[in-house]
Assembly symmetry: C2
Homo-oligomer: 340 residues x 2
DNA sequence: CCCTCTTCTGTAAGCGTTTACATTCCCCTG
DNA sequence: CAGGGGAATGTAAACGCTTACAGAAGAGGG
């Protein structure tokens, strides 16, 4: 709004050097006498000079900003991921342009385009990538397309391609272990609940099915249920099912799992005596209920930090080879909702 | 990364017009024949031209971006606010630079500076403003200082000054009503729980005290408690207090209120038979517990939308007078945790 | 003390737009 | 059909920085 109007010229003048020298000082170039450097620094300080990012952007072709795309920030998992990402990025001098794309493909596409038009240095896509789950080539395509412009980092999603990097947690393993543990503890009917067919959700499902198989249980109808991600919707849906004599539930997020609590309450079932419940994400939700919920910690912080670190290395040194994909192991956090 | 290298020149050449004309088309100037406009549009489309925002920024002195500062995005209230803000802003062609400042003043200051250096068009500060609560002139100062550069919009905070606008909900009223209702329903000892001395928190406290006063109750020690905003911390703190024979609690957010549930559970108190609980924010947390929580809906969506709308009017027309402060009424959402 | 080599500093040409101002083009009017 | 006026278009100067390249200043050797 108000123009500070202190430009590099003013600094140069007052310090009796050329603007080139000021610029060099600003960028920590080593071809400046320490004496000149100090002189310039002092003037910069006195004048309160801040370089104009637009002009810098024109010259450097970057503004050191990263686009973060989430389907919805008001989801506890997404918002914590964004928090971790932002923090790490800020620590490295990058700022975040946030975009709430929604779950629709068209929305995502247009938001990606918008971010690219802002000339971000890289894009981070958090969750909800259907691509790679085999049923949306269109999603794969637009991501690949975008990756021709800037490197893309996907968190808990998976798209292969030039310039595309991903960080995932080992959902399959985690779900396998949890399911296996339930079965081995004597549970007869473990039901799997999900609200999406995203890459992560599919891996979780695979882990669940693997556990059934290895324990000689055949998957029957009604053991894998598609629900809506709203506590009460889940409850109502479960209540509506006639013969749901499940004794354990494993859900792809904590909100869904909370729906099971509500269902249990309604049916008069005790947790964990009558039914056990395992949630996912180990979010704040998991300790809101009573008994507190056993949940799978998918290591959001670690994944986010690793992602940012790899990204920074790549940006600072494009020649560098960085791992295309990293996988982090989840933790099963045992609380009162299970009776292992 | 990869340079598209399609610039306005290319468009101009191919369309046989000057770059000025292309620029005019781009900005919807009316001084262009519709024929020329179409011709240019067509070429822009064919070439897939996207203007370089840095160059545009240099010329226009804006990149149409808004800085959003939150103390922590991983709080349900903050993240939902950011979601609403982002959505509304994106709908108006602005993008958001997000900054997680933490609660410390120094952090906030440096983040604000960073955002300003990015030449944002305006700043939105969400919650956690201690300024105006009388105990931090330093905070008032740096906000006023920043407001000399760009307009600042504060959500649920209050700082007066040139270029500073705020949107708040009527916390005092809401807390007054809830407390009053509890007292009138026969509760003898209503305890107020807070984790901060922010502007909002202070208003809530004032509403609580007003209700006590109007009902002829004198505020005694132990009726207003400062707690840490972590479910288990709240529980432990309450458990540690010897003679806390409260029969109702009113908390400044839902997480704190959940701590009361945990405390009740531990003490064997039934909700709402033995104690009533009122939360704040009407967040997802409020329906996670059992019985579900009565909570005060502070109208985040409305406040955010109003804020963005006022901001846009101001930015598009700086002469325009927009209200300095708007106040929105809260709703008391009654659920099972109270026995009014 | 002069010359060479190295290191530091300055000059000026971009970077890709916007936009004030100049110019051209049309369409009327007389 | 000349001339005037207004609308459409073009020209070129910003915008504020980075950086290749040129030039100056020191250091060191003969």
């Amino acid at each position: 709004m108000k123009d500070d109007s202190i430009k590099i010229y003013d600094v140069a003048n007052k310090a009796n050097v050329s603007i080139a020298t000021v610029s060099r000082v600003l960028h920590g170039s080593d071809k400046v006498t320490s004496k000149t450097r100090e002189k310039v620094m002092k003037v910069i300080d006195e004048l309160g000079y801040t370089p104009n990012v637009f002009a810098q952007g024109l010259g450097l072709k970057t503004m050191h900003s990263i686009g973060i795309l989430v389907p919805t920030i008001s989801d506890t998992y997404m918002s914590s991921a964004v928090a971790f990402l932002e923090q790490r990025l800020a620590g490295n001098g990058y700022n975040c342009i946030l975009s709430n794309s929604g779950f629709e493909l068209t929305g995502k596409k247009s938001h990606v385009e918008l971010l690219l038009s802002k000339r971000v240095d890289a894009l981070i896509l958090v969750g909800s990538t259907y691509a790679g789950s085999g049923n949306s080539d269109e999603e794969t395509d637009y991501i690949r397309e975008a990756a021709r412009q800037v490197p893309i980092f996907i968190i808990n999603g998976n798209v292969q391609g030039e310039g595309i990097y991903s960080s995932v947690c080992d959902d399959l393993d985690a779900t396998f272990e949890a399911t296996d543990k339930l079965i081995k503890s004597g549970y007869k009917k473990v039901v799997f609940l999900t609200d999406s067919h995203s890459y992560s959700a599919n891996k979780k499902r695979a882990g669940y099915e693997k556990a059934l198989k290895e324990n000689g249980i055949t998957l029957k109808k009604g053991m894998e249920l598609d629900v809506e991600n709203r506590i009460h919707k889940v409850r109502d849906y479960l209540l509506s099912r006639k013969s749901l004599n499940a004794d354990a539930f494993i859900a792809t997020n904590d909100d869904i799992a909370l729906g099971v609590y509500k269902y249990a309450m309604e049916r008069g079932l005790k947790v964990p005596e009558d039914i056990s419940i395992v949630g996912y994400n180990n979010s704040a939700m998991s300790i809101a209920c009573e008994p507190e919920m056993t949940s799978i910690d998918n290591k959001t912080e670690k994944i986010c930090n690793d992602t940012v670190d790899r990204m920074i290395s790549l940006l600072e040194n494009p020649e560098l080879e960085i791992p295309r994909k990293i996988t982090v192991k989840c933790d099963l956090i045992e609380r009162g909702s299970t009776n292992f």
